[in-house]
């Protein structure tokens, strides 16, 4: 056990772990990760580099952040941090108790100056520089002053924060559930496995199935005058199992929250068109087409499709507001080119609700247009712990590097016997100090203290 503790606490191990973490992040940048890339990309990469692909797959480098070795690395860092934290707390407690001891000064600056100075003047000068007098350490000619005592706890607070972040990260990585669903306005989603566009769950998490039904009631993009998206707003109705309905507004950066599951607007959106084909010989066919957003608000969106089970090939040019293009119509419209074999192409423009008769006698109706958008359902774990860790980390680093502990020892030697009056006595003053960080800067500060003492003292 002692050997293990020694191993986890050794500077070599700590530096190796930091380096390994950096190396893992580095590999994650250069090696294609399966969660970020499409199956087509991965297949092409496999075909181009078969040997490299095998090695990458074997070492789980294509999913670094969920690989066994990365989790082992995080677990080792967590153990090392826990051990280190235990010893740091002990050391800080001991150092707190021993403020006034007379241990050998490890980082010291010894200066001497001649001055006749009273205890009150000395304390005033040191107070002006932010030092506090440690009363218990005083003798008749020896004073101890300290500054930034809170800095003693900087390392503890920082590493405690890191530990909180790691534990929260492990907790979340194990149990988190996250899924993206594509919904058209008016559509309902009950969390069916086959209706998720994508899901990402933790190692120990169950398949994601929210215990409520979501209906997208409203979705509205807002634009800047130059056509850029300014904001996206939506409204959803949540129907819980007991039949309770809740209306939740959601917007970018303002997720909705229901039973610990947050609902985010994904930022993807576009137009959804419903085209209905009424055939004389078969059942009506409804085509639900999701178009992506055009680069600029009033640009047309083009789309090619074949109506299922028929030979009709459609080329669609959708205008959200054709008025901008033609000065005639000021509503959504579909520009259609219908191709069927051996018949000349048919061109038409349809407004919502309008129909045309196709070359083979069927009727095509532009039923309606609405928005579709992506909604991310996310259940995360350990978020409060994570934020607490963030706060502790920053506070600890601030205490460590901005407020390093400084202890100054000031000793006033005996006056020369030939000087009778107390105010005229010139004393030998020794100033030394101890700090863990920035010793040369501290040394300069001690020199400035010595100069100030000499300046203040009557000569």
């Amino acid at each position: 056990m002692k050997r293990l503790t020694r191993f986890l606490l050794s500077p070599f191990t700590i530096i190796t772990l930091i380096t390994a973490m950096g190396a893992a992040s580095l590999m994650g940048t250069f090696i294609p990760q399966s969660v970020d890339k499409t199956p087509r990309f991965l297949a092409a990469w496999h075909a181009a580099n078969p040997l490299l692909y095998t090695v990458v797959k074997r070492l789980q480098l294509d999913r670094i952040y969920t690989s066994v070795w990365f989790l082992a690395l995080i677990a080792t860092i967590t153990c090392s941090l826990s051990c280190s934290l235990y010893y740091q707390i002990r050391r800080a407690l001991n150092a707190g108790k021993s403020t006034t001891d007379h241990r050998p000064v490890s980082q010291s600056t010894n200066l001497s100056c001649h001055a006749a100075i009273s205890e009150n003047t000395l304390k005033r000068i040191m107070r002006g520089r932010g030092y506090h007098h440690s009363a218990a350490g005083s003798s008749h000619n020896h004073w101890i002053f300290s500054k930034n005592r809170a800095g003693l706890w900087g390392g503890v607070v920082f590493h405690l924060g890191l530990l909180c972040i790691l534990l929260a990260g492990l907790w979340n990585a194990s149990l988190r559930q996250r899924g993206l669903a594509i919904l058209t306005v008016g559509e309902t989603f009950a969390g069916q496995a086959d209706r998720w566009a994508s899901t990402r769950t933790g190692i120990l998490a169950k398949p994601f199935k929210p215990k409520f039904t979501t209906r997208l009631d409203k979705f509205q993009p807002r634009y800047w005058p130059n056509g850029q998206v300014k904001n996206l707003h939506g409204k959803v109705t949540i129907v819980e199992r007991d039949g309770k309905n809740t209306f939740i507004p959601i917007a970018v950066n303002h997720p909705g929250n229901i039973n610990g599951i947050k609902l985010f607007l994904s930022g993807d959106y576009g137009y959804a068109l419903d085209l209905l084909l009424n055939s004389n010989s078969a059942h009506p066919i409804l085509s639900h087409i999701l178009l992506t957003t055009p680069a600029r608000r009033n640009d047309a969106v083009a789309y090619d499709m074949t109506i299922p089970t028929t030979t009709y090939r459609l080329h669609i040019n959708f205008h959200y507001n054709r008025g901008k293009a033609t000065m005639l119509l000021a509503s959504p419209s579909v520009g259609l080119t219908v191709n069927v074999s051996r018949v000349p192409p048919l061109n038409a423009i349809l407004l919502p609700g309008q129909s045309i008769v196709l070359p083979l006698g069927d009727t095509l109706t532009f039923n309606r247009v609405s928005y579709w958008t992506g909604i991310i359902f996310a259940k995360s774990y350990g978020i409060p712990l994570l934020y607490a860790g963030f706060g502790l980390c920053i506070t600890g680093a601030f205490l460590m590097y901005m407020l390093p502990v400084k202890v100054a020892y000031i000793q006033i030697g005996a006056a020369r016997p030939d000087q009778q009056k107390e105010t005229e006595r010139l004393q030998q003053i020794s100033i030394s100090g101890r700090t863990r960080r920035y010793q040369p800067l501290f040394s300069q500060e001690l020199q400035e203290i010595a100069a100030e003492l000499q300046k203040t003292a009557p000569t």
């Binding site: 500077p11 530096i15 930091i18 952040y65 300014k230 950066n253 985010f264 920053i394 901005m402 920035y438």
Partner: protein, 281 residues
């Protein structure tokens, strides 16, 4: 640099004039710092300091006028980001060198570096009328884009100390420059400061991502490289603490940290696919 929005033409002309006035003052200040360093005259260093401080006035005016003209803070386009990073760096240098006059010589390295940032704006395309995307709001976003400014300032002071250390190490002590241990301590102190501010930037970015997308860490290339920069700074601080890395070795490691931070901020978004791509250089 000059954008063409007719309504705000005057403000943009004012921006350009104030910008180049600031550049001229910084350039003159660099000359005085260099002279002070060569001759050991503290008066030159003092003049350099006051010229730098004077340059901050038109620089503030340039940033403010542009803010009014384009209707958003200096965080959206590449040229304004560079300008505000330069501004933060100079502000931090003034604060730092006001306290310790002997360390003003660091301006010899720092100001030319900042001038590179300010001149690089000339070569960057500036598009008129760009507006912030929908996700660019909230307190975490504000902290995320603000904390990088002093972080780069701290980085600049640390790297300037390191470069001066490496330059001075090969020369006999002249007494004109701060001593080697003092430069080394400056490097240490500002590396610590950069570590804190870079950490705040990462933390605020993670919180912002959680608010916007429901995931505080996505292992995006820019996130990864920010983490690598932060880990490298952590490594530097640990090596100093445990392995007594000081002086030359610490200075070289600082050079590596700084290079990676520049790579992360300005070049990686161009080279890799990243959610930050559209917002960075």
């Amino acid at each position: 640099m000059i954008l063409t929005i007719p309504d705000h033409r005057h403000l943009l002309i004012l921006t350009a004039v104030a910008h180049w006035l600031a550049v001229s003052l910084y350039l003159s200040a660099s000359g005085f710092f260099f002279h002070g360093l060569r001759s050991g005259k503290t008066k030159s260093l003092k003049i350099g300091f006051w010229l730098t401080a004077a340059g901050m006035l038109p620089h503030t005016l340039a940033l403010g006028a542009r803010w009014l003209a384009v209707g958003h803070g200096p965080y959206l386009q590449k040229d304004e980001s560079l300008s505000v990073l330069a501004y933060g760096t100079i502000g931090m240098f003034l604060l730092f060198s006001a306290k310790s006059a002997r360390l003003r010589g660091i301006g010899t390295v720092l100001l030319p570096g900042v001038l590179i940032f300010m001149t690089a704006q000339l070569f960057l395309p500036a598009e008129a009328g760009i507006r912030p995307p929908a996700t660019f709001n909230g307190i975490w976003f504000a902290i995320h884009v603000t904390s990088i400014i002093p972080a780069m300032g701290a980085f600049f002071i640390a790297i300037s100390s390191s470069i001066l250390y490496l330059w001075q190490e090969k020369r006999p002590p002249s007494g004109k420059l701060p001593s080697l241990p003092v430069l080394d301590a400056c490097n240490y102190k500002y590396a610590g400061f950069a570590f804190i501010l870079w950490g705040i930037m990462i933390v605020a970015g993670a919180a912002w991502a959680e608010q916007s997308w429901g995931s505080y860490w996505s292992w995006d290339p820019i996130e990864n490289w920010s983490l690598i920069t932060w880990l490298l700074l952590g490594l530097l601080l640990h090596l100093r603490r445990f392995h007594g890395w000081q002086g030359k070795k610490a200075a070289w490691l600082m050079v590596a940290c700084f290079s990676i931070s520049i790579l992360t901020l300005f070049f990686l978004p161009v080279l890799t696919g990243s959610i930050h791509k559209e917002y960075l250089l």
